[in-house]
Symmetry: C2
Subunit: 470 residues, 2 copies
């Protein structure tokens, strides 16, 4: 029996009266997209009610009503997650933040922007550029909501130089489970003022409170950037260059790796054959893609010269300069990796592990060999500069039941290997419902107990996003 | 009546048998320095026992004994704190980490160092340099322990460019109140793996667990740096230049401000008259000190040209280049500000607030005017780039009782003003026992309740550093 109550007509009417009938959906009026995120393998769960509050106050009143009714609430942004973090696995009320999509204020003296959580990453990034500012976090999924990015501490391409979302959140407005509104943090970059509730909220995946406003740090936009493609014979050679690049002091904005088979798939899928397969008469099996940014293009190309020397020593066939349309085409190809995999496969499951940079090859080989053992195709790409890997188990011609059995074997073995290599379960996608077991295995009983204690302090009835993380 | 038990002979014998007699002090064998930190105004409290464990295992056994005996434990590093954070206000056992002072391992592939908590900041910084690496956090107090720096999330001079200690902690070994040993975090820079117990521990001032090992991120050491001194007519003009410098994209490593009177005091105290009082025929009332770093000195001086243009527009009398011995002399003068104040005053109390950068002048004026109202001398300096101010109420000829009365008036009014300006109680020194009331006023009852809930989850008997933070 559930610890929660069913959603009643009375609660629905309360929610309707708070957010307005046009923004409260029940039964068949609920779009089926709300039943899942972008990783369908974890199954669909329809919420009983979906509501879209307009502001903090409406969120507060909705939460108070749900708290009193003891009904679970699942917060959802753009629904682009990959671990069922915003799927209502226990039913109840889904609180969608996408109506709260305003960029509220730029503070050019203190270099921050105040936004509502439903602003999409692409819109914030573009708007900040209009102010000649950069919002550095750059996760692959540009249509994600910024609130979602904060809830999973999304990292993205530029984490090597700029860090993750965590590093750009100065303050937030949070509605607690019982409806109380809190201001956490302040628009300052340096603080030592009690336990960091701010850093606890970041990455808590909607389980501790509802984020209804964010104050985000911005930086002056670097005026120039250029990317450089380093083709190697195979992934071993490619990855061996990464610690050298990092140690060089060249300060790359990003260091991505790509294996040949995923480049080919993405090229075929997008009809974009920008990446050469043969370079200097040699067949490229893997690539490292490096980006530098700065205010002076000459200075960037000075760094590129040093990079080219390093690359040559490390066995790269060449250092190909990518500017303008070429650079865009390569990054478009890189951006289409996941959709290219999805297009070829009936079903996929994903790992988003992060391992020490010098363990990337060992981990990839391990997963590929586990895949071979059970007859599953493994495909992967990722952030070479920070060890964050996106690895996919692909169903190919298998039926779902058989795929799930084989998939579980690979996943279980791989997460155990990840822990052995001193890695973490997730680099940026979070735990959600999908990876909760692996989190528990990875951190152990005591840390899970501490997390449960924190959860209980914030949300004593456990109504916020039940079944996730803890 | 205390919630704790008295220290018994039996407990003392247990601790002696764990750490060895030479590292367990009782009664008159305890150095009186252990009764206070570096801000004597908050009073002295002698612990009943001081012990210095050699490693994680000894810490674990000591904690288990104290937990079973229900005796409070105050963790202490180098004792350089300023808010009684490591003072045993409830007596009991003081656990000093300074015997755990080893730098254990550099990982040059993944760019991290493993250290024990008792390593001093200056030793870590120097040792990292030997490996051509930089540990970016650079708090003013170089003899502080790294464990203490993590416990208060110390920031320091270079926070403008590199962030605070928080941004460099990848993982830690923690002994909980009951003696259990936890590994929190992993040596990876990007993670979204459950609630961040790591970020909760950082800045928790020894109230949640005992840090016994740290894995800290390092960066390639920038080969070059240069500082630039910008003299202005007064603090208003000086501070008005700061947002412009930050917005310029010149990427300063640090932006400090200094007022004339503190420069004069420090000059007299250290016999170091490096900073000119008259520049271009004008009397300087305040200065901005900017540092750039990078790998190419020419590129740094290109940035300096842009800085000079900005400074000129902002009303600076000049942009004075500081290299080599001049640079060292200016920074030595800057480093002696606090000791210069201490040398002139019988008693001081300190604020370590952080306010938005464009509120610095308003806040400083407010505090000075509050000081005038009650007849207290106010002296200040700080980190202009991040709004972190170190402000001192000075006793001059007043006796202690009268000073404390006036001081409280200024402090109460100033912390209220700080909250009004959207600032925080502490930028880097922490809350300790001294600022607990101001923390509670600043964040409100609910956040204090959440912090208490977190404390209870980690330390149900409340034996770790009682009377601090929560």
């Amino acid at each position: 029996m559930s610890q929660f109550n069913e959603v009643t007509q009375d609660l629905i009417q309360q929610i309707e009266s708070i957010v307005g009938e046009d923004y409260c959906y029940v039964g068949e009026r609920i779009n089926s997209d709300f039943a899942r995120d972008e990783m369908p393998i974890y199954g669909a769960h329809m919420p009983d009610v979906v509501c879209e509050p307009a502001n903090t106050e409406e969120v507060s009143v909705v939460m108070r009503a749900c708290y009193e009714a003891n009904v679970p609430v699942t917060v959802r942004g753009a629904g682009t997650g990959l671990v069922s973090g915003s799927v209502a696995v226990e039913g109840g009320v889904m609180l969608c933040t996408m109506r709260m999509d305003k960029i509220l204020e730029y503070d050019m003296n203190n270099l921050f922007v105040r936004v509502q959580p439903g602003v999409r990453l692409c819109d914030l990034a573009a708007d900040a550029l209009e102010h000649d500012l950069m919002y550095p976090p750059d996760p692959g999924e540009k249509t994600a909501s910024v609130g979602g990015n904060v809830s999973t501490n999304a990292g993205g391409m530029r984490a090597v130089k700029y860090g993750t979302t965590r590093d750009y959140v100065l303050a937030m407005t949070v509605v607690l489970a019982d409806g109380e509104i809190l201001q956490i943090g302040r628009p300052v970059t340096k603080t030592s003022t009690g336990y960091s509730l701010l850093h606890l909220m970041i990455g808590s995946e909607g389980t501790l409170g509802v984020i209804t406003e964010l104050t985000l740090r911005l930086i002056p936009n670097p005026k120039e950037n250029a990317s450089f493609l380093l083709p190697f014979v195979d992934i071993h050679a490619a990855m061996a260059s990464v610690p050298k690049i990092k140690l060089s002091g060249l300060d790359p904005q990003s260091i991505e790796f790509m294996e040949r088979d995923i480049v080919d798939s993405s090229a075929a899928h997008t009809d974009n054959y920008i990446i050469p397969t043969e370079v200097q008469g040699q067949e490229a099996g893997a690539y490292i893609l490096v980006t530098f940014d700065g205010n002076d293009i000459d200075e960037i190309f000075q760094r590129a010269e040093t990079l080219a020397e390093l690359a040559d020593e490390a066995g790269a066939f060449d250092t190909l300069v990518l500017e303008g349309s070429e650079k865009r085409a390569v990054w478009e190809l890189r951006g289409a990796f996941l959709t290219a995999i999805e297009a070829e496969e009936k079903l996929i499951d994903e790992m988003d592990v992060v391992v020490p940079v010098d363990s990337i090859t060992e981990f990839l080989e391990f997963v590929h060999s586990e895949g071979e053992k059970v007859g599953l195709r493994i495909r992967s790409f990722g952030h070479a500069g920070d060890g964050n890997l996106h690895i996919y188990c692909c169903s190919q011609t298998l039926d779902e039941e058989e795929f799930l059995i084989r998939n579980k074997k690979v996943m279980d073995a791989s997460y155990a290997k990840c822990a052995e290599l001193n890695g973490q379960v997730s680099g940026e996608h979070g735990i959600g419902a999908a990876k909760a077991t692996y989190l528990a295995q990875s951190v152990g009983d005591t840390q899970m107990r501490l997390m449960a204690g924190i959860k209980a302090a914030f949300d004593p009835k456990g109504i916020l996003n039940p079944g996730k993380v803890v």
